[in-house]
Point group: C2
Chain length 228, copies 2
């Protein structure tokens, strides 16, 4: 009944090749022909196993992203459990729980590229809904956790800063086109550990930064005045 094992597991071979080529050339740039040739399978296998190219993209993304997000939420659960036991709340563990699973997955895949890049660079029609579905819960939970640590903060400003965290993270995870280090003329320790440490320090400091500059306060005050 369960026709379990094909010898070379065509499905996985397709997913691997698709992942590599989608990242390299983009969704539209990676043709099914190039893709199936690289995977060593027949052209029609994609239609048979996935239905079509669009569904293949969805499968590629889900395979990598869902485990990462599960691990993120697992670690966040652990953190919140410790909070309930009275341990002090800090930003750094939250940021680590958000960042490290993604970097770990990236490292595990050999090629140091994260599939999440695709989500934020591919202008595919159905991408927005896919993002919401894949990352919605994670975004909500982590945003809430950060918000709880920084209780005093302006919610609107915090939402913006949370976006900045996401932006910096994505830029490092994908980084298809990062400004090359040689350009700024220094040798950079861009090992995973170094990047992670610097990201956590940088982002925690940014999130904690005191509210606003004078300029804005003045603007707000003026606006208030003119309303009277």
């Amino acid at each position: 009944m369960t026709q379990a094992a094909q010898q070379p597991d065509t499905r996985a071979r397709i997913l691997d090749a698709a992942e590599r080529l989608f990242l390299e050339k983009g969704f539209r740039g990676a043709s099914l022909r190039a893709l199936t040739t690289a995977a060593g399978v027949n052209l029609a296998a994609v239609g048979y196993h996935f239905g079509g190219k669009d569904e293949l993209l969805r499968a590629v993304l889900e395979r990598r992203i869902e485990p990462v997000n599960r691990e993120r939420l697992r670690r966040l659960d652990a953190i919140e459990t410790r909070w309930r036991r009275g341990e002090p709340r800090a930003l750094e563990p939250i940021l680590a729980a958000l960042l490290e699973p993604a970097f770990a997955a990236m490292r595990a895949d050999g090629e140091a590229r994260d599939i999440a890049t695709l989500l934020y660079s591919e202008p595919h029609e159905r991408m927005p809904e896919l993002i919401e579905r894949l990352f919605g819960e994670c975004a909500l939970r982590f945003h809430a956790a950060v918000s709880r640590v920084l209780g005093r903060a302006d919610p609107s400003a915090l939402a913006l800063r949370f976006q900045m965290v996401i932006g910096a993270m994505i830029h490092f995870l994908g980084g298809r086109h990062r400004i090359s280090p040689k350009l700024v003329g220094v040798t950079v320790d861009d090992s995973e550990r170094a990047v992670l440490d610097e990201l956590v320090v940088f982002l925690a400091a940014g999130l904690r930064a005191p509210a606003r500059r004078r300029k804005v306060v003045r603007r707000a005050a003026r606006a208030q005045e003119s309303l009277r």
Copy 2:
């Protein structure tokens, strides 16, 4: 001699339509047929005026980015002049000089989208060299300026943090797929002024954050020990 004015200025119409469609659908997703139809010009006009689709992309990018980078460098020059006159050095003006011209250009174009997004999301073959050519000088100068303000900092760490600045900025400039604000359940003031202010505060704090966490220091110390 200078056959100056065509009536409807085909070139500009093509550039406008191309800019919009490249951003919406990506380079490959925007066909010359859709593009020229949207512009109200003949299909062959692209070949005549630009040579081909690749050269059109280059023209689209250069038209928007070069003025922005000129303005950035103009403002940085002004800052460094003030430094030479003995005024105190701060990060915030540098960040403002880096960010504001891009946001201003974005606003001026009606549609609140920045063309720079394309540079960092489009997997076009010649994109890396284009980025280096367009942003090389800017990156070098701003990195140096930040480095001069934070004289004490570890150059490698600073290079990483400078990348984070770029990442957060790009995420906000383009943001084709930002996690939607409604998802985190708050109404966000994402006006240009609010975003800019928060970005400057966030990024300045991140850049200034004290070097590293205990964990790393310990690791480094251990490594040193084991070398003896």
